[in-house]
């Protein structure tokens, strides 16, 4: 049975189309990540699934039940917000127990669920504290705990890591992945960070301007992007795009090569250009090369290399690693 089905969902605010006809199927136990640039409608789509926003047309089905007119609390969902959104007047325990109290769950059962969630998230010692006495990472764990105790059919995460600092983000990301393995629950996760998308997702949904660009496993999206948008959005540094003669030679309008697939050759090769900038990260070296008839081409070399700024180098790539796109931007 599918955990979530969206059928031709649209949303308008006044005269602007925010969501333009989204169809999606999410299987039970799947970790699905909505990713896209800001303003692409990914958060709005999540809020429609949660019931915090009404879709203009289309249908939302959660666990086989149509929930078009069901209020958020009755949809069998739990949500984790970007700004944690803990209740300031309640303790950690109160925050986690509130929804269950509203549902009328028995007191002993509430206690049991809070205790087990607190243990899972290492919140045992913090249960008596108020949100103002917690650090950012702890608050986000409480917010996740508040979602877990409800044992929802669907977990919704709205950019849960973007308020955390870099180190904490990596830790919490791993925690969320572990949590998914442990609970086996269906999770929908919204982010603009493609690293989070690649590392967490079973399935990535790439959105742009209110439409789904591509749905697929992270590696498939990376290896076989369906169009220019996905090709440019997934992968860091960005894929290099070349148009003009270089592309026509291969029978395409645009060709794309990922920075790690471009090789530096002494002279000759497919293209030639001047080194305009160098970034040495230790593990990798990024070389930015100004190639005639194209934008800047980024080359990623594993290890530490040195080039003189302004020197001319040759570039080449295996044909197998070159993505070809037609006039309409679709992959050929």
């Amino acid at each position: 049975m599918s955990a979530l089905t969206l059928q031709n969902v649209t949303k308008r605010f006044g005269s602007t189309d925010v969501i333009r006809g989204v169809d999606l199927e999410v299987a039970e136990g799947e970790f699905v990540v909505f990713v896209g640039p800001s303003g692409c409608g990914k958060s709005t789509l999540l809020r429609i699934i949660a019931g915090l926003e009404d879709q203009t047309s289309g249908h939302v089905t959660i666990a086989g039940k149509n929930v078009d007119v069901t209020p958020p609390a009755k949809r069998g969902i739990a949500m984790v917000f970007q700004s944690y959104a803990l209740y300031p007047h309640l303790t950690v325990k109160g925050n986690m127990g509130l929804a269950l109290k509203q549902e009328g769950v028995e007191k002993s059962e509430i206690e049991r669920r809070i205790a087990s969630a607190a243990k899972m998230l290492h919140l045992d010692t913090l249960l008596g504290r108020r949100p103002s006495e917690l650090s950012g990472g702890q608050r986000q764990r409480v917010a996740i705990g508040r979602a877990i105790v409800r044992q929802p059919k669907l977990f919704l995460f709205d950019e849960p890591l973007s308020n955390l600092d870099a180190a904490l983000r990596v830790n919490t990301r791993i925690e969320i992945a572990n949590l998914h393995r442990l609970l086996g629950a269906t999770m929908i996760y919204v982010t603009h960070d493609q690293v989070e998308a690649m590392t967490l997702a079973d399935k990535i949904v790439v959105l742009s301007a209110g439409k789904i660009e591509q749905v697929g496993r992270p590696i498939d999206l990376y290896n076989k992007p369906a169009n220019l948008f996905v090709a440019g959005f997934i992968g860091s540094p960005k894929m290099n795009f070349l148009t003009g003669a270089a592309a026509t030679k291969l029978g395409a309008e645009t060709i794309g090569i990922r920075p790690e697939h471009v090789r530096v050759v002494p002279t000759g090769g497919n293209w030639e250009g001047k080194v305009s900038h160098l970034e040495k990260l230790g593990s990798d070296t990024f070389v930015y090369v100004a190639v005639e008839g194209a934008d800047m081409v980024t080359v990623r070399i594993v290890g530490q290399e040195d080039f003189e700024i302004g020197s001319t180098i040759g570039l080449s790539a295996d044909e197998g690693h070159i993505h070809r796109f037609g006039k309409d931007g679709r992959a050929l």
Binding site: A78, F81, L86
Partner: protein, 279 residues
């Protein structure tokens, strides 16, 4: 170096200006309170002098306590002020929540309509209000005053509070909705505590004009049983003779309750910062 010195000079000027203004604002109050403790001759011969052995007298306060039912007047003023503040805050906050939280047709127009009351003084409608009160038999009741003052205070309350409510995190309200809280619970439990400083501001702004008002008590509720303090003090002001001792004593006494209310609200102003809800 020069920067530090200029900032000393600047803060000196700021303090000078603020200090000067404070003196200016406090001077009339000082005059009222000081003269209320003087005998009549003392008030007229040396109004700026502090009461001394020869001029000191409690005659004003004695007159006030003997003549008329001043305790009753104080009670009326307090009832009217407190109930009006309560209603203004309750309905003002509710309207502000609706305006800031829900998208509906005519939302902006409604907000503008409610804000119009800030610019148009309610006294322009006195005749119509009086006619209405006569028709509903509310003349000479405290209810009449409470209704009028609630209407008078609402526009500013809605205006200020809706601005503050827009700043309350949408995530927090949505979290409440996902957890199954009703809109009323979200309003009373989550939103109101977070806008408490704004509520205190509104309360102070609403309270002072109500407490000091002479116009509506005089027109709508001049009976002995419903007189407010400001109206009560008027009985010592005559066309030919004014009992200054009594007038000044009444006014001195009238400062106290409103001062206490102000202190309560300003404590809220400071305490109302609820950190840690979001971020």
């Amino acid at each position: 170096m020069s920067k530090a010195r200029s900032s000393v000079a600047r803060s000196g000027f700021v303090h000078l200006a603020l200090g000067g203004y404070t003196l200016l604002a406090l001077f009339p109050i000082f005059l009222v309170v000081a003269n209320s403790f003087k005998a009549r001759a003392g008030i007229f011969s040396a109004p700026l002098q502090l009461p001394n052995a020869t001029t000191f007298s409690l005659i004003g306060y004695q007159t006030v306590l003997k003549q008329g039912d001043f305790l009753g007047y104080f009670q009326n003023s307090l009832i009217v002020t407190i109930l009006s503040i309560f209603l203004v805050l309750l309905f003002g906050a509710m309207a502000a929540f609706a305006l800031s939280e829900y998208r509906f047709r005519g939302n902006t127009m409604m907000g503008l309509y409610l804000a119009l009351g800030i610019m148009i003084p309610i006294r322009l409608g006195t005749v119509a209000i009086l006619q209405g009160m006569v028709a509903t038999g509310l003349v000479n009741t405290l209810t009449a005053l409470i209704l009028v003052y609630t209407a008078q205070g609402l526009p500013l309350a809605v205006f200020i509070l809706s601005e503050f409510m827009r700043q309350v995190s949408a995530d927090l309200k949505n979290a409440g909705r996902v957890d199954g809280l009703s809109e009323y619970t979200i309003f009373f439990r989550l939103v109101l505590p977070l806008v408490r400083p704004a509520m205190a501001t509104v309360a102070v702004f609403t309270m002072i004009p109500i407490w000091n008002d002479l116009w509506f008590p005089l027109i709508l509720a001049p009976s002995e049983a419903t007189k407010t303090v400001t109206l009560g003090a008027q009985m010592f002001i005559g066309q030919y003779v004014t009992n200054w001792n009594a007038v000044l004593s009444t006014l001195s006494l009238a400062i106290l309750p409103v001062l206490i209310l102000y202190l309560i609200f300003s404590r809220q102003l400071i305490r109302g910062i609820t950190a840690g809800a979001v971020k």
